[in-house]
């Protein structure tokens, strides 16, 4: 799968009320330039932390929380998968765009050429585990996105790409927090 296309379609299919957290680098830059929205939270640093923040958010609200993660990022703190799975967080969708590389720093390889994160998700008790390697599988995944039973783990195998094709997020970190929290308030009960 083409990395950009794979990410684009998921970002564009997010519903108004969905909350989405984006890993630093490509995920954040793509989402910001393609469809910036008040329910988006962009990580600018702290690689590996997006899934922890997403779990904390999902445990404290009723809305669907979609985490856009990377293979390198998830490998940094895989212990979080045990928590997501065992805590049975039903409103959590954990999507990992696995390009087997550290895309933001020049596509150095991760270990994901040899290991399968989807198998790990099964071991860690995610309720739903999906692995996407082809266009057909991708289309099936996309059409089921809003009905997945959480916690769901969706591994999308993609090509590598160049993060520099997308501009940096132009919001300050404090603005990202403030806007996201204000959106939670405006949508009523968290």
């Amino acid at each position: 799968m083409n990395c950009i296309e794979a990410m684009e379609k998921v970002i564009l299919s997010l519903k108004e009320e969905d909350l989405a957290l984006f890993n630093l680098g490509l995920n954040s830059r793509m989402a910001y330039s393609l469809k910036d929205r008040k329910g988006n939270f962009y990580m600018l640093g702290s690689m590996g932390l997006v899934s922890s923040v997403g779990l904390g958010l999902a445990l404290n609200c009723d809305k669907k929380v979609v985490i856009f993660d990377g293979d390198g990022s998830l490998l940094m703190d895989m212990g979080i998968m045990s928590m997501i799975g065992v805590l049975k967080c039903k409103n959590l969708i954990h999507i990992v765009f696995d390009n087997e590389a550290y895309c933001s720093t020049g596509n150095q390889t991760t270990y994901c050429e040899s290991i399968d994160l989807a198998s790990a998700a099964e071991v860690y008790w995610y309720k739903t585990v999906i692995k996407v390697k082809s266009i057909q599988e991708y289309d099936d995944f996309l059409s089921s996105l809003h009905s997945l039973e959480g916690p769901a783990f969706c591994l999308i195998k993609t090509d590598t790409c160049n993060v520099k094709d997308f501009p940096r997020v132009a919001l300050s970190p404090a603005e990202i927090t403030e806007r996201f929290r204000a959106n939670m308030v405006s949508q009523g009960k968290p």
Partner: protein, 162 residues
């Protein structure tokens, strides 16, 4: 000395009811009672930065949150502090146990025991000892968080909790 039930009651009064923790023997009583309390959500975390991430996610949802960990865990959360909480202005009430206090502890705790406070100063993270006047200490921490919107640390010395 502070009774763990009194500490929890005050945290509940102040609405700090979402917590995440990494265990420390000095926190045993506190964590054991917190996990049984139906008004507290205490999520054990696999690592200190994960605990801080969880508490931060709760803040994004509009909740007040705290973390409990050993001071050795400060080493694990420095990046989360500098490239996340401090710049995103995400306050979390952090309780750190002080292993290695006055160099009277196992060797693995001695350096962090000595460096914890200077490290927090360097990072400009407000910190203070939790004392018998725990209500004042927690109120001070909340006041700091309200003003600065960053994490604030309360340090637990051995024997303070009962």
């Amino acid at each position: 000395m502070v009774k763990v039930s009194d500490l929890w009651d005050y945290l509940k009064l102040k609405k700090y009811t979402f917590c995440s923790s990494v265990p420390c023997s000095m926190l045993k009583k506190l964590l054991d009672s917190g996990i049984k309390d139906p008004e507290i959500t205490l999520i054990p975390a696999v690592k200190e930065n994960v605990a801080l991430g969880l508490a931060s996610g709760a803040y994004l949802a509009g909740k007040k949150s705290c973390v409990f960990m050993q001071n050795s865990g400060l080493g694990n959360i420095i990046n989360a502090l500098t490239s996340f909480n401090l710049i995103y202005k995400i306050p979390v009430l952090m309780f750190l146990t002080w292993r290695g206090f006055e160099s009277k502890d196992a060797p693995e705790h001695l350096i962090m025991g000595e460096k914890m406070a200077p490290l927090l100063d360097l990072l400009e993270v407000p910190h203070r000892l939790l004392t018998d006047s725990y209500r004042d200490d927690i109120s001070w921490a909340i006041h700091e968080m309200d003003n600065k919107s960053i994490p604030v640390v309360l340090i637990l010395k051995k024997g303070i909790l009962r």
